[in-house]
Amino acid sequence: MTEPAIAATGTKAAPKLVLENIVKDFTGRRHKTVRAIDGIDIEVGDGEIVCLVGASGCGKTTLLNIVAGLEQPTSGGVTIDGEAIVGPGPDRGMVFQSYSLYPWRTVSENVAFGLECIGMSRKDRAERVQELLGIIGLGRFADNHPKELSGGMRQRVAIARALAPEPDILLLDEPFGALDAQTRRAMQEFLLLVWQRTRATILFVTHDIEEAILLATRIYVLSSHPGRVVEEITVPFGTNRGPSVLRDPRFLDLRDEIQELLTTQVER
């Protein structure tokens, strides 16, 4: 494996996750090869929230799946702390748009799943679950089933479940895409809160530009067909940001800039 190139981008922290020249081909109709991702380089530093923004078809979800180890790139390498990823593992927690909670398990049993996998004792599990339910504010719902929760609550459980085994990095695949506007806003603030409390490293995929700016420390704007990085943007807001960011003039400028980048992509 190649050495992580810290000097190239000048990020302050040593990169935790490095994606180097990722290429992904799919076999389409009539065995034609379709290039979904064409040479993407991405670095995520320790404790950063990095957002991938792009229209549908830019391969953002595929990219996330590659980091999760659920898909293999056609070429290129993914490393976390210098170690190559060969398959999925609890060091990379993932949250999906469709919650994908276990409907037969209660909230606390859902959160405990990853802890069972790593063989934690029942007592330690109960403690950790209790702590996480406190963080997501669903202590009262510990014994409810997912069916009895609202969409936002379910997604909070999914985030707690992914955080439970203390992953090195949290992967979020359009996690708030299925929520209504108000809940989505609340969930974004919730995620910021979780990030500030747990100092988790987060890689986040969205097509919502405002969401990206609100949450991310850095944003990669991706092009579609094939997916390439067209711009890497450092978001100028600190770690203690809140919803007031939404009224910051720099927020609006950034939004317009990214909008512009994506629009040219679509027209191309």
């Binding site: 659920l70 927690g93 993932m94 999906f96 994908s100 409907p103 996998c117 479940r161």
Partner: protein, 307 residues
């Protein structure tokens, strides 16, 4: 569609009154257009009756009344048939059937027959379900196992299981084993294929989410795929249980010393119409209760999957 009735130039003239603008009238202009008309003047839209709404609920009371009417209709048909009963086509009255039933019961034959039949179904169907669950879950979970089993099962399941009866009797004699074998042969392929479908219905993301939480394949199989599939598997058991009873009766009609199917043939020999009807009703009642029991089991095992 653009609304062509809109004036392109503001204030360029009043709208054409309905029916007068020769050739220029558009869909939206005519308040008396047929598609606007309701059945009742002064109203709009299609009113729907309460009883025949597509996929819509009806009041609980109406449901109860309709269900009772259905049962009553069945009884009426039976009574009419019994009234027209003649020497050529004998249909016993409900009363005669009831008397035959009590006779059958008091003689002690009912309990021997019932337990003989029930034990056969229980044994055969349990084996069939176990094979169905093991193979079905494996086929639904692994493409390689699916590729191996799909073609032989797809081929064998087109052999009518009833056609195997003579062969099974030759191979296995006339005691319990051919009957159990027939029940298995008649249900196992459906169990396997339907349980495989149930397993395939486990959302992919539930499986990938489990991998990212650190679960291995065995854990995903036992802790994710199986729990998600239990309610569906019980539904499959419910549906195919009818086929098990079908195979049992075929086996008992041909070669048995006891059992409900055997008693059916005996009653035919002695022209005991009442008893034959009683046995038919016993089958129906057994089916109904086992269905209810399995529904109860489904709620017990998977309360989260209640529709």
């Amino acid at each position: 569609m653009t609304d062509t009735s809109l004036d392109p130039v503001p204030g360029s003239g009043p709208r054409t009154p309905p029916g007068t603008g020769a050739g220029t009238a558009h869909l939206g202009d005519d308040p008396a257009a047929p598609w606007r008309r309701s059945a009742k003047p002064g109203t709009r839209g299609r009113k729907q009756g309460a009883l025949l709404r597509l996929r819509d609920e009806i009041p609980f009371r109406t449901r109860v009344v309709l269900a009772c009417t259905g049962i009553a209709g069945l009884v009426v048909v039976w009574l009419l048939a019994a009234a027209w009963s003649s020497g050529a086509v004998v249909v016993p009255t409900p009363l005669a059937t009831w008397n035959a039933f009590t006779d059958y019961w008091r003689s002690g034959e009912l309990s021997t027959d019932l337990s003989a039949s029930a034990v056969r179904v229980a044994e055969g169907y349990t084996i069939s379900m176990v094979v169905g669950i093991v193979l079905g879950v494996a086929i639904g979970s692994f493409r390689s196992i699916e590729a191996f089993w799909e073609s032989p099962i797809g081929f064998l399941r087109y052999i009518p299981a009833t056609a195997l009866t003579p062969l099974f009797l030759l191979w296995l004699g006339i005691d319990e084993s051919p009957k159990i074998a027939l029940i298995i042969a008649g249900t196992v392929f459906y169990n396997i294929l339907m349980i495989a479908d149930v397993t395939r219905a486990v959302p992919r993301e539930l499986i990938t989410a489990s991998y990212t939480l650190g679960a291995g394949r065995l854990r995903v199989l036992c802790r994710v795929i199986l729990p998600h599939s239990w309610p569906g598997i019980i539904d499959v058991a419910r549906i195919n249980l009818a086929a098990a009873w079908l195979m049992l009766v075929v086996a008992e009609l041909l070669a048995a010393q006891d059992g409900l199917g055997y008693r059916m043939i005996q009653s035919q020999r002695f022209l005991q119409y009442g008893r034959m009807f009683a046995i038919l009703l016993i089958f129906a009642v057994i089916g109904m209760f086992s269905d209810l029991a399995l529904r109860g089991l489904r709620t017990l095992v998977a309360p989260w999957a209640r529709p």
